[in-house]
């Protein structure tokens, strides 16, 4: 009994958007000029477009601009929460160290991220005029959720559950140059100094 009700409620909820009467009625009242130029159904491709910006030539006296390579992989069959652990692992590393860590990591996402990093390194050397392929470090490594899909998971006794197939995207930005030195952890002495400075900054406002 209960599962029939839940099934029909779920179906009505899913098809709620597809009521044709509502759709056609709204189309005739649309204004001539619309502010929304892009619809929500288009896939966002901002990260790929970042690879297309061309900087103007540098003057001879300026410091050399480090090359930045953006790469991503979309719709990886993995959960973005689980992928985050790997992304956080390789965040500030040099590319060789990151590849070594991923090769011996047991997670499924490690293999995917390693492929992405190798692709990005190859792109850097071929297309982006990077001289030494080991001279790259990972500036940004992030994950995002992809499109989820709901499926039925069959249990015993005619019971079912709704399974969520999760996908994720992985974004990486390689920057030329040695990796930045890690920030020294905050000592107690630094914290004490900050506290004393805060006490000294106190002042009275709007008074004589």
């Amino acid at each position: 009994l209960c599962l029939l009700l839940t099934g029909s409620a779920w179906a009505r909820g899913l098809l709620g958007w597809a009521q044709p009467e509502r759709w056609l009625a709204s189309s005739s009242l649309r204004p001539l000029s619309c502010d929304h130029t892009s619809t929500h159904l288009q896939k966002p491709v901002k990260w790929e477009k970042k690879n297309r910006i061309v900087y103007p030539p540098q003057l001879p006296g300026e410091p050399r601009r480090p090359a930045e390579i953006y790469h991503c992989r979309r719709d990886i069959k993995y959960s973005h929460e689980k992928m985050w652990y790997l992304a956080k692992l390789i965040k500030g590393m040099s590319i060789d160290q990151a590849l070594a860590q991923l090769e011996f990591s047991d997670k499924k996402g490690a293999k995917v991220i390693k492929e992405v990093l190798l692709e990005a390194q190859d792109m850097a050397v071929r297309n982006n005029n990077v001289e030494y392929k080991s001279n790259l470090h990972i500036a940004v490594s992030a994950t995002g959720r992809g499109r989820y899909v709901k499926r039925i998971r069959y249990h015993g006794k005619g019971m079912f559950g709704i399974m969520k197939i999760s996908r994720c995207h992985y974004f990486v930005k390689l920057v030329e140059g040695p990796p930045p030195p890690p920030e020294p952890p905050k000592t107690g002495f630094d914290q004490a100094k900050e506290y004393v400075q805060q006490l000294r900054n106190r002042t009275l406002v709007h008074t004589l």
Partner: protein
């Protein structure tokens, strides 16, 4: 009225979400993008043949090229002249090879503005044999650049600024090497 103006369909009924409106806006965007490019594609096609155009343009999209012609050291001379029909009989093309000894400045910058090849302050003396082609059947055809002839005795070009790794032979782990 001779050749009356045909307004686009649904002129006053265009909305951004209808198909016609989207198509028109895409066309406008494409036209504006093509005209705002650093070089004019139409003009380049009129100055260079279809065989030469990809050789000139390939790999240039994300690079900045600065080229300037300083002076001509010798007056250009016509060296070689051929005229033949290609593919069909009657498709007459004329090709002329011109020997040019000139001074030029070339500097190629990559995507990030770093110098990849050449230099802006160093003019180079260049001896080139440039081939121009014209479609002779068309009375209004123009002479367009068709290609360049590089002789075997030509001096080697300047090396590029960065170093490139050439992959060596694949080594077999079971065998011993020196």
């Amino acid at each position: 009225i001779i050749d009356p103006y045909v307004p686009p369909e649904g002129d006053a009924r265009l909305t951004s979400l209808s198909k016609d409106g989207l198509k028109q806006r895409m066309q406008k965007l494409k036209q504006s993008a093509a005209s705002q490019l650093a070089f004019n594609k139409q003009k380049l096609h009129s100055l260079v043949t279809e065989r030469c155009y990809p050789d000139m343009v390939r790999g240039n999209r994300y690079k900045t090229i600065r080229w300037s012609f300083v002076e001509s050291l010798e007056p250009p001379r016509v060296v070689h002249l051929r005229c033949d029909s290609i593919v069909n009989r009657g498709n007459l093309y004329g090709q002329v090879t011109v020997r040019m000894h000139t001074r030029q400045v070339l500097a190629i910058y990559d995507r990030f503005g770093r110098l990849m090849y050449g230099g802006e302050q160093a003019p180079k003396d260049v001896l080139e044999y440039v081939v121009f082609e014209r479609y002779l059947v068309n009375p209004y055809g123009t002479w367009r650049m068709h290609g360049k002839i590089v002789p075997e005795w030509a001096p080697p070009k300047d090396p590029i600024i960065k170093t490139v790794m050439i992959p060596g032979p694949t080594l077999d782990p079971s065998q011993e090497y020196e």
